[in-house]
């Protein structure tokens, strides 16, 4: 009997790894379709984005690397699609992570189609919004919080006049009379590093601009503190938040299909915790006492 406990207490690490791999692969291919409850923070964020009015200017910032995108794919696509559904809303895409521009292109291509007479980026139309008139993609800026601080203090020079593709987009700024950081009505930041924290420090504290963060799991605790203190206007926490937002915006695919694997593997960890303790009390403690 005791060697069963011994086995339970000393399972080889690689058994865990193989089990997690198999569970994940199987449940991705054959999802079960379990129900999903919506948390108040994500509903509040959805309503905030839904309350955007014509003429509002939204900065959508990507402080996201590939790994973060793999987790927040559901949120990126559903939130951007939702913002682009709002009539008359203007969008400036920016990135403070060097991997983000190529993924942003993936999202734009995924949610939009090429505008008439154009064959390549950036000329995509999403939900009726045209590139250059309704939205622009300014690409990557180095310096993390340093750039966000200079953007808040000196909006136009910090952005420059050329978009990520080198086209002069000063006409977009002039025609919509965008001159100062105060003109920004909402900032949405998809983060695997703390992009929203920088915008909170330099846009919310300075001008009261509401900041929404969709962040990876590691950052959820820190984001909840800021949300509770009123520094963030909304949060979409990790893959769970992404699935909830997708559900609210009834946007198909990505996070929703991953929820079953997400459930079962977490139950697997709970099982390991139980097994580990049963094994510990059944064998290791007896060993110590003997």
């Amino acid at each position: 009997m005791s060697n069963i406990f011994k086995m339970m207490a000393h399972i080889d690490r690689r058994v865990y790894y193989a089990a997690v791999f198999l569970l994940t692969a199987l449940l991705l291919i054959y999802p079960l379709g379990l129900p999903l409850a919506i948390s108040p923070e994500v509903r509040h964020t959805y309503e905030l984005v839904d309350s955007l009015e014509p003429g509002d200017l939204v900065i959508i910032n990507f402080c996201l690397s590939a790994s973060g995108y793999a987790q927040l794919q559901g949120a990126c696509n559903s939130m951007i699609d939702h913002v682009f559904q709002k009539e008359g809303v203007l969008v400036i895409f920016t990135a403070t992570a060097d991997q983000a521009p190529i993924m942003l292109e993936g999202i734009i291509a995924n949610n939009g189609e090429l505008m008439a007479g154009h064959s390549d980026f950036p000329y995509y139309e999403i939900n009726g919004k045209q590139y250059g008139t309704d939205y622009i993609n300014m690409g990557y800026y180095p310096g993390l919080f340093k750039w966000v601080a200079s953007l808040s203090a000196d909006f136009r020079p910090a952005l420059g006049n050329n978009d990520w593709y080198g086209n002069d987009v000063s006409e977009f700024f002039d025609s919509h009379d965008i001159t100062h950081a105060r003109d920004v009505d909402l900032v949405i930041s998809f983060d695997s590093d703390d992009g929203a924290g920088d915008f909170m420090n330099y846009f919310f504290l300075e001008y009261g601009t509401p900041v929404v963060q969709s962040q990876i799991g590691v950052m959820v605790a820190g984001a909840k503190v800021q949300y509770n203190a009123g520094n963030y206007a909304g949060i979409v926490p990790s893959i769970r938040g992404a699935a909830e937002y997708q559900f609210l915006a009834d946007y198909p695919g990505y996070a929703l299909t991953q929820m079953d694997a997400f459930s079962v593997v977490q139950f697997f960890l709970i099982l390991l915790m139980v097994l580990g303790n049963v094994g510990y009390y059944g064998y290791t403690r007896l060993q110590k006492e003997a």
């Binding site: 409850a37 790994s67 200079s150 820190g222 977490q266 697997f268």
Partner: protein
């Protein structure tokens, strides 16, 4: 240009920079000072952009040495050199929307970054299985804290263990949030005091100055 080697020059430089950045933030100041503040913020972004080249040059130098000395597995150094220079030559020479430049990102950078981030769930599983042994009050608290949150997070948990939800929300939104708050407050206080010490010229180690200059004079 011996002045550039003296510590006092950098102390004065640091004090000036700090003063020109704190005063415009707290006080309404004439436009000239705000322009200077904006210049500093612009400059540190530009310096960050150039700093990338320092790493690239030293990395290239290191790989070339590895190849010249034919160290074991030197051909992997060739892989780094070929790929990094291919990216730079194509990216800057032809353009960053070039098909090869994007191909290399989709083929190596994005899977590499995503994989290593994702690998952590395996390590967390083994670390979790090892750490959650209830053999003391601390480990019991650690285990039950994790257990309730796992049950609430997983949609399956809401079905099988609905009672875990409210307990998890209470733990998450009061106790864990309070601990997180104290954690970031004491960290912020640490940063404020460090910034003030730098302004008073007390943290010269930040720019690696103190002993180096001293030891050079000894030579």
């Amino acid at each position: 240009m011996s002045i550039l080697r003296r510590k006092e020059f950098f102390v004065v430089l640091i004090v000036l920079i700090s003063v020109f950045l704190y005063i415009p933030y707290f006080f309404e100041v004439p436009q000239a000072m705000t322009n200077l503040e904006n210049w500093f913020m612009d400059t540190i972004v530009i310096i960050a952009a150039f700093a990338v080249w320092v790493g690239f040059i030293t990395a290239t130098r290191r790989e070339v040495v590895r190849i010249q000395r034919r160290r074991k597995g030197w051909f992997y150094a060739v892989v780094i050199l070929v790929l990094s220079w291919a990216m730079v030559v194509i990216g800057l020479g032809i353009g960053k929307t070039n098909v090869i430049f994007e191909f290399l990102q989709w083929a190596f950078v994005i899977p590499g970054d995503a994989t290593i981030y994702a690998i952590l769930v395996f390590y967390l599983t083994s670390a979790g299985a090892r750490a959650f042994r209830v053999n003391s009050l601390e480990s019991a608290l650690l285990t039950f804290g994790a257990l309730f949150i796992l049950l609430k997070q997983a949609p399956l948990g809401e079905v099988l263990a609905p009672w875990a939800g409210p307990v998890a929300i209470y733990l998450q939104d009061t106790i864990a949030m309070a601990a997180t708050r104290v954690f970031s407050v004491s960290l912020a206080i640490g940063s404020v005091v460090l910034a003030i010490r730098l302004m008073l010229g007390q943290e010269m180690a930040l720019v690696g100055l103190v002993r180096r200059v001293a030891s050079r004079e000894e030579e």
